[in-house]
Subunit: 471 residues, 2 copies
């Protein structure tokens, strides 16, 4: 007998499948103010692990965490012309505080380049103070007209890095290092997410940047999602805020800067990248619950065994949850853990106990088999690593098999309509071609060099444009 | 030759000493919007360690982290009468979003009881969903007319716990457990901060609570600081938001709730509790830098040795910073680490190297002595634990020696004027006496039972009021 589907099948309606999953796996709810969201404990658990893994990599680069205020004087935003033009339509504005109208309205930060530079200009005195490498974990608000949970929300959580360097080259290299050693390494080795690493076209650049690097991934429906970005800000904000340093030679020089961010959007990416019709599949290295040990029935011996096994697996260094809520039917709990995408379920009932076995259910490849309970400690770490690798392989194969090399706008549109990406020579496209793609809701996700690397020059001959419909 | 003081001496002007220290130890700067602050990397490093230690204890109680929106519809606040009365004067209000005036203004959360209950009322269906134990790490905004860095800021960072229980007793016991096992244990064993644990009078209760538990500590100038609070909310918010559950007996019942919080104010407390005229003294168990290894001169052999020793101490599990910035004079760097309160400095110059020794400077008891470099790995863990214990002892002795048992309001005022606290029988004081104390800027910090425990009944005979001038 076939099970009734718990979620709208992906093939029927991918956006609806996404919403169903977010709701039924208890990742998030819509908030009361338009476009806001409540991140529920299971969803937040994923974010906490993302934070821990990213934070360790960020600190490895010598960057330190700090915290800048939520509220920014409106006048700060206007000091960098491109920046205010980009963000003005998305601002939330505080006009009243402590029962009075404010003399100057304050905006809720949409990003912090301006307020960061106000302080960098005080903290940076001489070349000895450089590089200044700062990161913050914070919430930001950008008013969204077409919100979607995790992907586009009026408030989201993120980390934003802000750095100041003595030379153009140092800043450029640091932005690239973040892209590669922090974001690239994290996506590939923790989220098991394949990506293309490239640079944005002028049209798609961050408001105020001179160059934006991006990692773009292909979701389950073939659309693209911008995962993270890293910007070279040149001296734009340094000029606007007069952020200068005394060089070794005794001259007052403007600093060169970068900024870079990654957000709760990655939770949405995880869903659309690894989810299937049964729910989410969480990469084991990310999972805050890697193994759930389930008591099938409320039998005393069974309960004792799942608790003891849970403790044993925890002691072996695995992240384990014991599910002994036997007042809820076993089938409902199994479906729930499947929805939540916990990589491995270990199910134990009275009969299993007699045989000294448990049913081992692997969420990622699927399937169940009996294994000796005493073998689990030594077995599971290998199982989890195998399943981690499988997710990355599936992610990579999807993009490779669905990307077409084409030479015209029409062919690129066809590839996108068929649920894929196109690589088109940038020379054949150019800004005019980019504008024509936009009429068909297609965008250049990024430019890559002929050999697949990130080009130093966007207009270098041989550059390819990666074209896709995007979230 | 006496050094010129780096800070205004405590005895001359305690508030100014505090401001000097915050600024010179690079803990925080004033933000541009009134009452806001920028937490600098060294200050934020203290907060990150507080978060890690508190978070582990919070999770130990079975509480999970989640995230609720920053912006709350204004109408939510008004549903609980005491709550809105308490918070209305402190609200920051967003009236415009995305370039338009909002239909309903949104307040920037001053605390999240209302929005949490909106969702609890959806998530809680039956007794099986209880207890529901949620915590969030977030920023909140409460407009401050007389701001002071860390102690009273318009925006601060905190954790706020929110729980729902089936019975009054469970909620009461959970609030008390948080007070004892999370906050009390953390303050005593990590921050090395002595406190009195008691209950607030009706006047000092959280807006919307039926009982507030508090931990109060004596600062270096004898004034009191409320460190953390834990509230029994009764059914006040459950009624306002109709948060009900189906009981085992099949009846729809209102839940019983708690909320509890700890904030970046604890950084200010740390300064005023352990700081001295040379700067901060960070308890070793908290310190994100426990040991700094300093190269006195830019000699190659010295630099190689401090780096090797730094790596060795790190490998031994200590939190270590290597200071090899020999383009900055040694004396300036030593004073800077002293200001920042790093517990142990290990200083190595060419002459030390010849002898195989280093100078070991201990910030907490003070003093310097030469020790064999190879002995440091085995020596330092014990030194750090010893100094941790000394800080707690000093903290406790200060409060005990400066607390007077008195019987009248006049005597209590005298004790406060002399830079201390008074214990007064609550029966002799009462709400009328409390009002008279307020005229002299004195408050009842909390009520304690005769045996020093937290009284279940504020008006029980024998209860003592702890009276002090407070921050």
């Amino acid at each position: 007998m076939a099970k009734a589907p718990v979620l709208t099948p992906q093939a029927d309606d991918f956006p609806r499948w996404y919403q169903d999953l977010i709701s039924k796996a208890e990742l998030a709810d819509n908030g009361p103010v338009r476009g806001s969201m409540v991140i529920r404990p299971y969803g937040y658990g994923l974010w906490e692990r993302m934070q821990a893994e990213l934070d360790a990599r960020i600190k490895e680069t010598g960057t330190e965490n700090a915290y800048f205020p939520l509220l920014i004087p409106q006048s700060y935003l206007t000091r960098e012309a491109d920046h205010v033009e980009g963000f003005a339509p998305e601002l939330a504005v505080v006009t009243h505080g402590g029962g009075k109208e404010l003399e100057e309205p304050a905006v809720v930060r949409p990003t912090s380049e301006t307020i960061v530079n106000e302080y960098f200009s005080k903290w940076v005195q001489s070349y000895r103070d450089l590089p200044l490498l700062i990161n913050q974990w914070a919430n930001v608000v950008r008013w969204e007209l077409r919100p979607r949970l995790f992907l586009r929300t009026s408030e989201f959580l993120w980390q934003e890095g802000h750095t100041a360097h003595a030379t153009y080259e140092e800043a450029r290299d640091f932005a690239a290092r973040i892209q590669r050693e922090v974001y690239g390494d994290f996506l590939e080795n923790v989220l098991a997410v394949d990506f293309v690493s490239g640079r944005k076209t002028a049209k798609e650049r961050f408001a105020g940047a001179v160059n934006t690097l991006t990692l773009e991934s292909m979701m389950g429906d073939g659309k693209a999602l911008q995962m993270v970005t890293s910007h070279e800000l040149g001296q734009n904000f340094a000029k606007a805020f007069n952020t200068r340093y005394l060089s070794k030679e005794g001259a007052q020089e403007l600093v060169w800067q970068t900024s870079w961010g990654s957000t709760t959007r990655m939770i949405g990416a995880l869903v659309m990248m690894h989810g299937d019709d049964d729910g989410l599949r969480v990469p084991p290295r990310l999972a805050h619950i890697q193994v759930v040990v389930l008591a099938i029935k409320g039998d005393e011996a069974v309960l004792a065994k799942v608790r003891e096994l849970g403790a044993r697996l925890k002691a072996a260094g695995l992240r384990v949850r014991v599910d002994d809520r036997t007042d809820v039917p076993f089938g409902r709990r199994a479906v729930d853990w499947e929805l939540k995408g916990v990589p491995v379920r270990v199910e134990i009932g009275p009969r299993d106990l007699e045989n000294g076995t448990a049913m081992l259910a692997r969420r990622i490849p699927g399937g169940k088999e009996p294994v000796a309970i005493d073998a689990l400690e030594s077995l599971l770490p290998g199982v989890l690593e195998e399943d981690q690798a499988l997710l990355l392989k599936q992610s990579r194969e999807r993009r490779e098999s669905r990307t077409a090399d084409v030479s015209t706008i029409e062919e690129a549109a066809e590839a996108a309509a068929a649920g894929g990406w196109a690589r088109v020579p940038w020379a054949a496209l150019g800004e005019e071609g980019e504008a024509r793609l936009a009429e068909q809701s297609l965008t250049v996700r990024c430019l890559i060099a002929e050999d697949g690397s990130v080009p130093d020059d966007g207009d270098a001959p041989g550059n390819l444009a990666v074209v896709a419909r995007a979230y």
